[in-house]
């Protein structure tokens, strides 16, 4: 067995907000007609189908709406493979694709009262009206990323593993001490 490691184990930064790499996280991409896959998601991931751009739950246990034919299931890292297996079994008669993408992603937490400002500096998203339970796929400087509110002052950011260092450095720079615009 190989020893799985996350993209930037232990990476952390403290400034106007803290930026922390969240370690290994389980993620399963599920594509298919939402109406057809809802029952399987309920049974396997124990989650209701999220509405447009909504996320139910969060890291370790959740489901996020990614596009009209795509969901992202969040689970424990060790469980991703078995969730794919169970989904494939449940959906054997439906046109679908379930894939374990855990090792293709990196996850960061941005935490602190200025968390929204750290994100607002990097993404074309109006963070003043960004709600709990909403997931936003967007552009973070030069790469795609997605994030949601994991608490009143906590934002979880997901990006591709190949750009993990870039995204961490971006977030750390954006969270540099003394750089808060104090807008929100």
């Amino acid at each position: 067995m190989s020893n799985a490691v996350s993209a930037l184990p232990g990476a952390a930064h403290a400034g106007i907000a803290s930026v922390t790499e969240m370690g290994l996280q389980g993620m399963v991409t599920l594509r298919g007609d939402h109406a057809e896959i809802a029952a399987a998601v309920k049974k396997v991931a124990k989650q209701d189908l999220p509405g447009q751009r909504r996320i139910n739950g969060g890291l370790g246990k959740g489901v996020a709406w990614m596009s009209p034919d795509e969901l992202l299931i969040l689970c424990a890292y060790e469980d991703a493979a078995s969730i794919v297996e169970k989904l494939d079994k449940e959906l054997k008669d439906a046109h679908h694709l379930a894939a374990n993408v855990s090792d293709a992603r990196a996850v960061f937490a941005v935490e602190g009262p200025a968390a929204r400002e750290v994100i607002a500096k990097l993404c074309p998203v109006d963070m003043a009206v960004f709600e709990d339970g909403e997931i936003r796929r967007t552009r973070m400087a030069q790469v795609p990323a997605a994030f949601w509110m994991a608490g009143p002052d906590t934002i979880h950011v997901v990006c591709f593993r190949s750009v993990a260092r870039y995204v961490f450095d971006l977030l750390a720079t954006s969270a540099a001490e003394g750089s808060g615009p104090g807008f929100f």
Partner: protein, 105 residues
């Protein structure tokens, strides 16, 4: 700055979140066609000053294609609509009639 609302995910996306796909509603000219028609299909595009129908992809977002009707002069957006169609929807055409009388030329 151009803001287009993606009909697939509902986000009012800023231009840098999108990838342009060029002129919309092209009709493919295939095997057996005249060379001139094929050349037109491959290379000739409208470049209007005013109303234009375009394809866009929400690349840094939901990843889906959609259509947009906009004015190339003012960047006014008349509407966005599904990619799964070969012509602009009636309501958007009527809206453009209203705002740019005579645009159909």
């Amino acid at each position: 700055m151009l803001l287009l609302t993606c009909p697939n995910c509902g986000v009012a996306a800023e231009e840098t979140e999108l990838a342009p796909g060029g002129e919309a509603h092209l009709k493919r000219v295939g095997p057996g066609s005249e060379d001139a028609d094929f050349e037109g299909y491959l290379f000739l595009r409208k470049n209007p000053k005013g109303v234009h129908f375009e394809r866009w992809r929400h690349a840094n977002g939901c990843g889906k294609w959609f259509h947009a009707a906009r004015c190339t002069v003012t960047l006014e957006v008349f509407g966005t609509y599904s990619a799964q169609t070969t012509e602009p929807p009636k309501d958007i055409l009527l809206k453009i009639d209203d705002k740019r009388p005579g645009w159909r030329g």
